[in-house]
Symmetry: C2
């Protein structure tokens, strides 16, 4: 694995990265307590000063996908009133959260290194 170019290294995957970020945002929002989709969107937006924002057309399919993958589990709130589907982290999801956090952190380190390089004034 010391040889550069060896496949299997966990390198930056542009497609997976954006998706992974969205998943992380959801998982992080559910870290403390279960929430329903709309709440997750508000929560994410509030905690990031509006940097991250879920569109409806992105969020709900994402939640369905994550539920199908066993990362979260949804239950329709039984009470009367507006129907809400409340999601909570599964054990898999909780494990995934910390694992992905490590992975993303490595990539962020690489990105910051790149930014430093981008800012070096050419001689």
């Amino acid at each position: 694995m010391s040889k550069p170019g060896t496949p299997g290294d966990q390198a930056f995957d542009a497609q997976g990265f954006a998706r992974g970020i969205h998943e992380l945002l959801v998982l992080a929002a559910l870290r403390e307590e279960p929430r329903h989709g709309y709440q997750i969107a508000l929560d994410v937006e509030a905690h990031s000063n509006g940097v991250f924002r879920f569109r409806h057309g992105t969020l709900y399919p994402l939640l369905h996908r994550m539920e199908a993958n066993g990362l979260i589990q949804g239950r329709w709130s039984s009470g009367a009133g507006r129907r809400k589907k409340v999601y909570s982290l599964t054990d898999t999801g909780r494990r995934h959260l910390s694992g992905e956090a490590d992975r993303v952190e490595e990539i962020l380190a690489g990105l910051m290194q790149m930014l430093r390089r981008a800012r070096e004034v050419p001689a």
Copy 2:
């Protein structure tokens, strides 16, 4: 702009982010001196310890796109031997480099905040 949720804020755009990263990698690689595509790929991989890696099917269309957008300018090396298309930064590209670097840095700050949050141990 103080009001959170105001549209027009430059928020995280999942699609644009991944593309922006790839563009930044190219621009940063050309910061000091012109290089041809294959060189850029090697350079990026070397400077990121293999975290970032360009596939050929990604790199060359990207270079064409960036040239069409006026961020870089390519010239076929006139000498004999293997043909190489050497790219250099345009003024637009140089401006874009610093602008995008600022934008990405903001997003990175948001991502790191999210990571911290993801790691907080729930009570």
